[in-house]
């Protein structure tokens, strides 16, 4: 075998044309993924994309890798079985707000508490698109949809809070319309050991158009988002504003006003306690800028490594399995 040529974006494009609605945010996410994967130095055949059901879950069909379009909500469970039995593979889960947080909520949290080494992309468009427009578990209270003509009475989940509550070791948020940030976030996730969770804010221009425009529109973007960078203070609005902690309560301050300097601001720490990350996750508009970036990145024992270590320790102690020995262990007797 000759050394394989470096893979390109094209190598990751399958022969199937994406069939998302024109203008869907998913196109951008797919493109950023295909851009990033060649840089990981992983052979193409070692990637597996596993998805559930929903618009987002068509993703694997468009990736020229191994792929498994499974059933509603179950991608994390299927990916867990795959990763446990094949630790050599790079396994990615692609899911949506309904798939991950509603029908698949149980698998979603258990994947994270176990720290299964999966890279998880949750496309959050706050709507059920494939079933043509019902409210989702991230839809805002009062949301009018086909199934909630009088407005939703269910308070929404914040996907990041759920992930942090489940003790996810890597938690990030990015945006479909910010290719550079999304690429960087995908790269970080790919290199993380353990469950790497990214919420991608994504527009559904058919059933929930403008889902995130209050923070992605050019005119408001700078004041509505704050980019998280490890070790750096939370500054936004082109350096004019920041987020400060007043006791345990965050507040927005204007730099230069009342003597406030960058030194007074909350400094982002990806390795801080989960409650610190949770505080950031709960920063929401309109009173606060929405944080974008890596909220949490900590190292903790990885599920398949613990499993493999137990298997190896057992082999060390007992040797490899011997069927004859197994069947003859304990009380046996011979009839002659």
């Amino acid at each position: 075998m000759t050394t394989p040529a470096k893979l390109t974006k094209k190598d990751f494009q399958s022969d199937m044309d994406p069939r998302w609605c024109p203008g869907c945010g998913d196109y951008s996410i797919l493109a950023q993924m295909q851009t990033v994967l060649p840089d990981l130095g992983i052979p193409r055949e070692n990637f597996v994309f596993v998805s559930g059901i929903g618009c987002s879950s068509r993703f694997p069909y468009y990736m020229n890798t191994y792929g498994f379009h499974t059933i509603h909500g179950r991608a994390p469970a299927i990916a867990t079985g795959l990763k446990m039995s094949r630790p050599d593979l790079s396994v990615w889960v692609v899911t949506g707000d309904g798939d991950a947080l509603s029908i698949g909520g149980n698998h979603f949290i258990h994947m994270m508490r176990r720290n299964v080494d999966l890279k998880v992309l949750l496309f959050n468009n706050r709507i059920y698109g494939l079933t043509k427009g019902q409210y989702s578990p991230t839809s805002e209270l009062g949301k009018m949809t086909k199934s909630t003509p009088s407005g939703s009475i269910d308070a929404p989940f914040n996907p990041l809070s759920v992930a942090l509550g489940a003790n996810a070791s890597f938690v990030a948020r990015s945006v479909d319309v910010d290719p550079k940030h999304l690429q960087a976030t995908l790269l970080r996730a790919a290199k993380h050991k353990g469950t790497a969770f990214i919420e991608v804010l994504q527009n559904c221009n058919v059933f929930n158009d403008g889902a995130w425009e209050h923070l992605t529109e050019k005119s408001v973007k700078d004041s509505a988002q704050v980019k998280l960078e490890h070790g750096k203070p939370l500054v936004f609005a082109k350096g004019t504003k920041g987020v400060r902690l007043n006791g345990f309560t965050p507040e927005v301050v204007t730099l230069g006003q009342d003597g406030v300097t960058e030194k007074d601001l909350l400094v982002h720490d990806e390795k801080a306690s989960p409650s610190r990350s949770m505080l950031l996750a709960e920063l929401l508009g309109p009173h606060f800028p929405t944080p974008i970036g890596v909220f949490r990145a900590v190292e903790r024992p990885v599920h398949h490594e613990l499993d493999q270590a137990q298997l190896a320790a057992a082999r060390e102690k007992k040797g490899t399995g011997d069927l004859h020995k197994l069947l003859h262990a304990g009380d046996t007797w011979t009839v002659s």
């Binding site: 055949e45 597996v48 059933i71 469970a77 039995s85 094949r86 137990q310 082999r315 040797g319």
Partner: protein, 616 residues
């Protein structure tokens, strides 16, 4: 016996061909352990045997109450034994509640051994006795032996340093010792077991050993028992034997299947009665490279198995009825993506939560039909505790050969029941052939083997074979998504045909009895022992009755139709309201008759003799 040594009375030894003993007591009395240890000693003594534990669903119902009664029955003989016995000849009773719930099962004039120490007012009240049955003459028709096991155990352990609770717990060992003596069994196997179990608790070990020995000595010295019994060795096939439960045999079958296939194994499971013991057993064997995964729920357990199968691993999931109901959508995915997963259903009483600790055969139609769409899945069943081993191997073999999920049905009765097992020669077990495709030339994910219609198994990580599969309808060749009408019709038929072709792997059906006659009894699953024995008894009476017992339920054996036509009547006994009988009637247009029982209990031989007898 330290307490009151009695002069050793001359004992007569009576030889009997078979006996059924039932140990019953409060669920805290250790009756399961007593039964298992008696079983061990009996097996080593060379009898053929079958056992049946019967315990409450609650971990520990209130002590002394009727729902808290736990029992263990063993039938052993110098002849081949296929059931745990219809009715106990001997009932060992540890408290009033146990007497109340079990006396009706004791054979007329049977032997009753009663722990009088437990027949105190509070216990009598809890059991609903207004008058002490030991004193009102109601037991006069039985050979009743009254032994104050509670007090005798206390006396034996008075210097042991154990507290009252620990002493109380040892009384089952006293009862066991007495019974071992009565049937001429050695105490050594139990002593060995105790040493292992209490290796870190020397006081408890000493106490239990002492109680066991005291019970044995009591039997020998007390004049209570005028006679001991001898059940001669059974004439069974030479070889090495062990006792095995169905769940153990299933777990070992899973490990054997990984060995015979040469690939790693994976179990995705979620705790559920009565299947959890398979998960427990497999979790002990990590040195096999076997990963057992306790998932967050039944669905995840099945899904993780599918993920492992996609990765090229021999994958299993174990559960019982309610859990299987949850898994069904995922089983549909496995059959759509044509991945091999063995789904083991240790059936219990249903519907819903039903009777978790009791047996039933009511999940056959759930296995065959219980999914959306035209969704054929092969179904096989095990017929006895040890047969679970062979059945598991067969399920794994079919799964990888035909690239399909396969159902294996066992049930609570054979899962927990125990029987001696002629340990198979490992070298004689047939390898399970697994081939992973590696050739990227002319690769199409849904291209099929012409004989089996199986598609290729491809491990992710194989260069040039990257492909996508999923639950949407597949193109018949490429496996890509297809909504084409003709293609869907073709695929539905192909999936059905693939499962139907498994018939080519089914060996000729073995008939017990003559190949033609008046009545053919067709059974499946854990009822084998009772049907086999009942048919043998009817044949001995000159009836023209035969039986077949089906391993394969979907597809059915190809020779079954012609076989049934050679008999005037086909009778199908099942522990449900008639599920196999529906299949036989619809598949073969045969006017098969049903014998049903849904009491959470296995068939008794006597009831089958009488009910099959109605057709002869």
């Amino acid at each position: 016996m330290e307490a009151q040594p009695r002069p050793s009375a001359p004992k007569s030894v009576k030889e009997i061909p078979a006996v059924t003993i039932r140990f019953v007591g409060d669920s805290g009395d250790g009756m399961q352990l007593t039964g298992l240890e008696f079983t061990r000693a009996t097996a080593i003594a060379g009898n053929d045997l079958q056992t049946f534990p019967d315990y409450p669903a609650e971990i520990r119902a209130p002590a002394g109450t009727l729902p808290g009664v736990s029992g263990f029955q063993i039938h052993f003989s110098s002849e081949p034994v296929f059931t745990p016995g219809d009715q106990p000849d001997v009932l060992v009773v540890m408290n009033p509640a146990a007497l109340k719930t079990n006396l009706k099962d004791l054979v007329a004039g049977g032997t009753l051994i009663v722990n009088t120490g437990a027949f105190i007012d509070t216990n009598l009240q809890k059991a609903g006795y207004k008058v002490n049955p030991l004193t009102d003459g109601s037991l006069a028709s039985y050979k009743t032996h009254e032994v104050d096991i509670t007090k005798l155990t206390e006396l034996a352990l008075k210097d042991s340093g154990l507290n009252a609770k620990e002493v109380g717990r040892a009384k089952n060992m006293f009862a066991l010792g007495m019974m071992l003596w009565m049937y001429g069994r050695p105490t050594e196997p139990t002593m060995r077991y105790l040493k292992e179990k209490f290796s870190t608790k020397p006081d408890i070990l000493a106490g239990n050993e002492k109680a066991l020995q005291a019970g044995y000595n009591y039997g020998e010295t007390a004049e209570l028992f005028g006679v001991t019994y001898q059940v001669k060795r059974a004439a069974i096939t030479p070889g090495a034997y062990r006792n095995v439960t169905g769940n153990e045999a299933t777990a070992w079958g899973i490990l054997a299947a990984t060995k015979l296939s040469g690939i790693n194994g994976f179990l995705g499971s979620y705790p559920i009665t009565p299947a959890s013991d398979i998960l427990h057993e497999l979790s002990k064997h990590k040195h096999w490279g076997f990963t057992s995964f306790q998932a967050e729920d039944e669905i995840a357990a099945m899904c993780a198995a599918i993920g492992a199968a996609f990765g090229g691993t021999l994958a299993f999931t174990t559960s019982s009825g309610p859990g299987i109901a949850l898994k069904q959508e995922a089983i549909g995915l496995a059959l759509m993506t044509e991945l091999p997963v063995v789904i083991i259903n240790v059936q219990r009483g249903g519907p819903s939560t039903g009777l978790p600790t009791k047996t039933e055969q009511a999940d056959l139609l759930q296995a065959i039909y219980g999914r959306n769409g035209e969704s054929p899945v092969p179904v096989i069943a095990a017929s006895s505790p040890s047969d679970c081993f062979d059945a598991t191997l067969e399920a794994a073999r079919l799964a990888v050969k035909y690239m399909t999920p396969v159902f294996l049905l066992t049930d609570g009765y054979i899962a927990n029941g125990q029987e001696p097992w002629l340990i198979p020669d490992v070298k004689a077990l047939k390898p399970i052939e697994v081939r992973f495709r590696s050739d990227p030339n002319n690769f199409f994910a849904y291209q099929r083997d012409q004989t089996t219609l199986a598609r290729d198994w491809v491990r992710p990580g194989t260069p040039g074979l990257e492909h996508r599969i999923g639950g949407l309808e597949k193109d018949k060749l490429t496996g890509g998504v297809s909504y084409d009408a003709e293609n869907h019709d073709t695929m539905v038929r192909l999936r059905a045909e693939k499962v139907a072709r498994i018939a080519q792997d089914i060996p000729p059906t073995q008939v017990h009895g003559a190949p033609e006659g008046d009545v053919l009894v067709v059974g499946w699953g854990g009822t084998h022992g009772a049907i086999f024995t009942a048919v043998s008894q009817l044949r001995a009476k000159g009836k023209a009755v035969s039986s077949v017992h089906l391993r394969h339920l979907n597809p059915l054996p190809p020779d079954l139709g012609t076989l049934m036509k050679r008999f005037k009547t086909v009778v199908v006994p099942e522990l449900n309201l008639g599920q196999l009988v529906k299949l036989l009637r619809s598949t073969h247009l045969v006017d098969a008759k049903s014998i049903n029982k849904v009491q959470g209990k296995p068939f008794k031989v006597s009831e089958l003799v009488s009910r099959i007898g109605e057709f002869c």
